[in-house]
Subunit: 229 residues, 2 copies
Amino acid sequence: MKKKDIKILLVDDEQDILEIVGYNLSQEGYQIVTASNGKEAIAKAKKEHPQLIIMDVMMPEMDGMEACENIRKIPELQDTIITFLTARSEDYSQVAGFDAGADDYIAKPIKPKVLVSKVQALLRRLKGVEGVSSTTTLTVGNIEINREEYKIIKDGEEIILPRKEFELFYLLATKPGKVFTREEILDKVWGNEVVVGGRTIDVHIRKLREKIGDSFFKTIKGVGYKIEF
Amino acid sequence: MKKKDIKILLVDDEQDILEIVGYNLSQEGYQIVTASNGKEAIAKAKKEHPQLIIMDVMMPEMDGMEACENIRKIPELQDTIITFLTARSEDYSQVAGFDAGADDYIAKPIKPKVLVSKVQALLRRLKGVEGVSSTTTLTVGNIEINREEYKIIKDGEEIILPRKEFELFYLLATKPGKVFTREEILDKVWGNEVVVGGRTIDVHIRKLREKIGDSFFKTIKGVGYKIEF
DNA sequence: TAATCTATTAACAATTAGGTAACGCATTCG
DNA sequence: CGAATGCGTTACCTAATTGTTAATAGATTA
């Protein structure tokens, strides 16, 4: 995907900001769409399918937070990156926007240069922009792991794994032989704060054993799990 | 190595984050160095030789990914742990940056408590911090002890040990020849608070003798045990 | 909207690790 | 020479840990 194919939706109630930011970004070659409140933002997002949305938190009609929540519910816009513009004074850890589904935020006052480079950094995540390469497959033993499509190929046979199962397998596969403690697994696969019941890991391991092969997975009692090839 | 000798490099373009995170970590006794973009990060990393780098992925000038790749190429910084701050909770396998050589990631929004405990966990990997050793393998005689995989290899033969047995053996193996008193063993393997009966150690020693070989274990009557090769 | 899939939990079974008691043997020491 | 002490050994018990299955709520897809 090239720069000129990337669409950015700017949302702010102040015309000045739309102009300045819009100008700078379009200079860089991005396509710019604007909206001046939350409702309009949702409408335009649906219609235009932007890759990135930069939105002020405080706006009349519908604020950024609410709009963000709504946009996150739209299936086609799952991969859209949403960034808030927030007042500097807010305590970072208090920024509620993350709960609403935002990916990042940019603090005001906005410096054009900073903004532009930040936008570029954000867009690096998008597949194929400026040929950003990332190894999408990992091979262990006779198994090839394709993390873009959440599937693995074992002896030429394709096995599609659900998200969590895949994540778990992928984690173990990054260091074959290494024993991952339950704690470690929870932390990396389930995330920092999520608390799930004690048997959850076992069940997922079992499913992997069924699908991939029992023999690969070793249980080290009192410690955790590992895979071996 | 003590806490106050540990240097952490924080990299983020937002001053707020540097302050909050920096404050929390310095409260814990760590030395903090900061940088606000990738280029600066590389420069400071070279100069300061931090043990841990916590870096935002998205930054102007040079983003975290690129900086990480560059830092990884610096010989003196091979052992430095690099952790990314990533937007929201991306799936583990999707967290770009592992390709770039990152060791771990922390998801935004950052909660100080979570951060601090995560940092502590990461630093346990470093040799000598709070007596936790980082060496993953230890070789004594014809036996290789692999802490990461919870197994020992004797003459090419793999022996998997239960947790307590492994820890007991590992303890003795850290100083071959040294006599460990029962008190010492209980303290290190079983922990300060647990009270177990008098014969417990014997039984475990016996199990090790069975699995690994009687001849390695010497009993010093009235004192304790040691291993010899 | 109905029809799948997924992730998680709950409940129970199976397994194993850790610990203990009991007994026997050796060494030490009076 | 016994008695006392410390250690080795076995068998057994219990608690902790994991395996397994099924049920359910939530997502996702057709």
